[in-house]
Amino acid sequence: MTPLFACLGLRVGFHRYGRGLATHTIWPVDGLDVSVDAGEMVAVIGASGAGKTLMAHALLGILPPNAVVEGELLFRGTRLTPERLERLRGRSIALVPQSVAALDPLMRVGTLVRRSAQLAGHDSDAAESLATAALQRHGLPPDVARLYPHQLSGGMARRVLIAAATVGGADMVIADEPTPGLDVPVAREVLGDLRRLADEGRAVLVITHDLGLALPVVDRVVVLQEGRTVDQAPRAAFSGGGEALGHDYTRALWLALPQNGMQAHA
């Protein structure tokens, strides 16, 4: 049984100029394996600089031009070529971006979500009703559609981003750091929204450094270190002193949580 999405041995490199015209390539992502199935929510965690965001951008094919990507990306069991990725992006695979600055400051929320639906291939009548439904599904009252992004709170802005990303009916959602800047109750609601997408049968990949916040809602955790996948563990393994965790780094992350004694070893 192949999962909905798999990425095997992903490498992302950047060409750098040295002296004169000599170039060399650095590989910030070097050996990354992640998979996620329909109905599943997977957290990708790691320190800053571990390659989390580069991974997301590689999965969507939105890296800068001097980047090179190697490795195998599979969607529904078939290889994702750059051409196929371009067709699927925004339709079957959606990104909830890291920064709320991704909202167009001059566009009302309703227009923005409707436009996302149109860009995903729906005609304007369908887009209108889809947009209304998407806002409602994420707990945003109808009058929010008339607001501009600067009139939204941090939590509402995140929900608008999620609504816009999923309005086209994507099968797979990648959320890049959806919680920083939110207080704990609001962050939990946003993660709960993402969990609901998984329960509806989509595949959800959430990129985060906040293990404590993400754990209660995800099925599995993929741990990155310096651009590589070093461990994968089911949620249940994160308990007690981390005896069920196979990798030292994963256990160190677990024991470093404030609620687990905040140990700074490893």
Binding site: G46, S48, Q259, M262, A264
Partner: protein
């Protein structure tokens, strides 16, 4: 002792953010401050470190107001270290602003190799170590830590706090720790007060 007495601040045409709030931090104490976003925690931090002048009330260190010039004994470490440094300065110059002791940089794991780099060439956790080192120069008696580890993974966060607590205990620096994370406040602070429970007195004396 660091004291805020009856501090009142209102941004133009808004209800006051701080309405006669008072708070005390003892030397060597780690006091946690929690509360929902937008309640005024950061504004209080800005007032304590002298960045904002209260419209009423005052801030005292050992009974004396904050000095108008020179190294302020109350230093603020903000949530986003990249906004607290000049992006066009190398880290050597950024650190030199407060001339911290060399051993302090070592204690916070500041790699001498970073000094010739620009802020964008460091990760958030690395830059936050530099900013903390700069804030803990010799004249600093109190530190306001405003969500200083919210952007860090658990392990980097634990290491940063371990170094900070050790240094603060050695020099009896008092910390006001502002955070959304109740588990973090429990783990690092001696006591935690919700923002809503701060002593409020609307009839505080006007600032001199």
């Amino acid at each position: 002792m660091l004291e805020a007495i009856g501090v009142t601040i209102a941004y133009p045409s808004c209800a006051p953010v701080l309405a006669g709030h008072s708070l005390q931090v003892q030397p060597g104490e780690r006091l946690g401050l929690s509360g929902p976003s937008g309640c005024g925690k950061t504004t209080l931090g800005l007032v304590l470190a002298g960045y904002l002048k209260p419209q009423r009330g005052q801030v005292l260190v050992d009974g004396k107001p904050l000095p108008a010039r020179g190294h302020c004994p109350v230093q603020l470490v903000p949530q986003h270290p990249e906004l607290a440094v000049n992006p066009r300065w190398k880290l050597r110059d950024i650190l030199a602003e407060s001339r911290p002791e060399d051993c302090l940089a070592t204690a916070f794991g500041v790699d001498p190799g970073w000094l010739d780099r620009y802020p964008v060439e460091l990760s958030g956790g690395e830059l936050q170590r530099v900013v903390l080192t700069r804030a803990l120069a010799a004249g600093t008696r109190y530190l306001v830590c405003d969500e200083i580890s919210a952007m860090l993974d658990p392990l980097t966060q634990a290491r940063l706090w371990r170094a900070l607590i050790e240094e603060a205990e050695r020099r009896r620096v008092g910390l006001l720790v502002i955070s959304h994370d109740p588990a973090l406040l429990q783990a690092v602070c001696h006591r935690v007060i919700p923002f809503g429970d701060l002593a409020c007195a609307l009839d505080a004396p006007p600032s001199p």
